[in-house]
């Protein structure tokens, strides 16, 4: 790789895995067990590669298939499980298959779901943009900071993760409510006479989402910006470019992979976010994660809830596929020598 700024997140993870693999393969227990396995016709490499596959199979693919199956079942209001079986043996010899698309059609027919999807996308998009606007200068600042300070600054970014996520959201409730720290302070200084209602509003929800996901924006951006060659900016300035224009025409385009990676990491979980809108957002805030929860636990309508989940998944898979293709193009462009 001639230019490290183009090394993608995926390539870095692969490089890490590769290193781990080499270490494992050099260890005596590994070689010993490999001898046994080879006699059984299984190579160690297959076995190691199988581990993530097995993990994904058990914890992702099988649950997905179950949910996928339920989304095509009919709702059964009484009894357990609360959906009709898709296939049944009728009188012991005929297989009776009942598949319905009613759950998906129901999503389209009731404007509540479409609105929830749209508002989730809106909230996630706005949050991503806010995270980008806040996170980019922070990542840039850390990347340009004195090397002896960088690790400390990065640690400060990661530090909130050491506290439970829920606890941090509750802390925000304490800060934002009518008798909370912020209102009390503002009233004490005399700026306001009555508390500002902040909790249970969109404002509070955005604060919560941006606060929680900001590190996911900063870290990939930092890892990109940190590898930028400062002489490129000197070259731009030398060629008659003012420093801010140099940033716009050199640093910004070169940090595109970092911007995309960070935006994905914020956008995807933010779409399905459930806890923050529930705790900080207003009762009227309509997020798909919340609809999913209500459908599942309040309405006990599992098939519709499953259909919502599948639709959400498709909604998120599309941008991921686009992102992957982009990264692949970037990587193959790099290899053309």
């Amino acid at each position: 790789m001639a230019n490290p700024s183009y090394v993608t997140l995926g390539q870095r993870i692969l490089a890490g895995l590769d290193k781990a693999l080499t270490t494992v393969m050099a260890s005596p227990p590994y070689r010993w067990s490999q001898g046994i396995l080879r006699r059984a016709g299984v190579t160690g490499r297959t076995l190691v590669i199988a581990v993530p596959w097995v993990w994904l199979l058990i914890f992702f693919l099988i649950p997905f298939i179950i949910v996928f199956k339920i989304s095509f079942a009919e709702t059964r209001w009484l009894g357990s499980p609360p959906y009709a079986p898709i296939w049944e043996w009728v009188e012991g010899h005929a297989l009776h298959v009942k598949i319905t698309f009613a759950n998906y059609l129901f999503l389209l027919s009731d404007s509540l779901y479409v609105q929830a999807f749209l508002s989730s996308l809106k909230v996630a998009s706005v949050s991503t943009i806010l995270c980008l606007l806040l996170g980019y200068p922070m990542a840039y600042g850390i990347a340009r900071a004195d090397p002896s300070w960088r690790n400390t600054l990065l640690l400060l970014v990661i530090l909130p993760f050491w506290t439970s996520f829920l606890l941090r959201v509750y802390a925000w409730m304490g800060l934002l409510n009518n008798h909370g720290v912020i209102n009390q302070f503002l009233m004490w200084t005399g700026i306001i006479d009555e508390p500002i209602v902040m909790l249970q509003t969109d404002f509070a929800m955005y604060i919560g989402i941006v606060y929680s996901y900001l590190p996911f924006m900063i870290l990939p951006l930092y890892s990109n910006l940190e590898k930028h060659d400062p002489t490129l900016l000197e070259a731009a300035v030398d060629l008659g470019c003012r420093p801010f224009r140099a940033f716009l025409s050199i640093t910004l385009p070169l940090s595109k992979p970092g911007i995309i990676a960070g935006s994905m990491l914020v956008f995807i979980p933010a779409v399905g976010e459930f806890v923050i809108p529930r705790l900080l957002g207003g009762t009227d805030s309509l997020m798909i994660g919340r609809v999913l929860w209500d459908e599942y636990f309040l309405n006990r309508n599992w098939p519709v809830a499953s259909a919502v989940a599948i639709a959400l998944l498709l909604l998120l898979v599309i941008p991921i596929v686009i992102f992957q293709r982009y990264q692949l193009q970037e990587a193959s462009g790099e290899q053309q020598r």
Partner: protein, 378 residues
Amino acid sequence: MAARPDEGTAPWLDPKAQPYIRIENVTKKFGEFVAVDDVTLNVYRGEIFCLLGGSGCGKTTLLRMLAGFERPTSGRIFIDGVPMEGVPPYERPVNMMFQSYALFPHMTVEQNVAFGLKQEKLPRDEIRDRVAEMLSIVKLNGLEKRKPHQLSGGQRQRVALARSLVKRPKLLLLDEPLGALDKKLREHTQFELVNIQERLGVTFIVVTHDQEEAMTLASRIGVMNQGSIVQVGTPHDIYEFPNSRFVAEFIGNVNMFEGRIVEDEPDHVTIDSPDLGGVIYVGHGVSTAPDAIVWAAIRPEKMVLSREQPPGEYNRASGIIKEIAYMGDLSIYIVQLDSGRRVRVTKPNTYRHAENELTWDERVWVSWDESSSVVVTE
């Protein structure tokens, strides 16, 4: 390779010539560390001036001050008579070719070269014409749409050169311009660089640690050591008449004999050198105190090896050949003198089959002409 010494190409010898770049008592300190120490230097229009020195000698800092990336702690810099104090890099009539080339990886060759012209807000047509012209000068036609990572090292170097020349700077700064190229390509590129410089008439200041590069490119060389310029002169001056032990040893190989001046006449000096195990006769006067400790420097190619004792009583010593290195065009002999000193002698391999060739452990005489040695006092 270097600019031909035609009439008028040696403005530094003309007392009335106005220097194009004037560096006056420039000092640069980083904290307590003095990177550049009171440098005064004149460079004339159309020169290829090489700043030569080891790493950390301050040559790059001096270059960065010319480009405007660093500010002198004291002293002034003039380019074409204009003081450069407070002029930011993007407003200086100076461009730089970076050691790493610093090509913009997300832009094509064409976009890289056009970048500087776009900053000047020139009309689109003019930019296109000038970029095309410059790319043909550096022979990169047909590669306009390539990205830097699709180019070879030599091609990248030419893109960097084109990008820095297309703005028609008054002064081009080159930081180790050939450092990243392999040997064959370097020699070829040196020719090209000098040709382009002659064609465009731009003044070049080149920073290099490679004396060979400096010798072949430069009209004049400034040798730097510990932040100061220790000698300025043409490659010939620097090689044949070094003014100090440092310069003599830094440029090429040299045999250095320590000794004490015995006879100090206006037309010659004799030096008694226990280092050599004999007396050195130098065919020119040296202005120094009698009995002073001096060093006589003799280049390996100016020494002669012979089996028979050479005539005369000076400038000779006997020893044993300890090592021979066959280099193809010449051979290097390491001779251990009876004084214990080892000297290096080179001899061109004029004949393909040489009979009765000198060989290992043979007793030989080393000698040189009285005009071949240079006396340095520090």
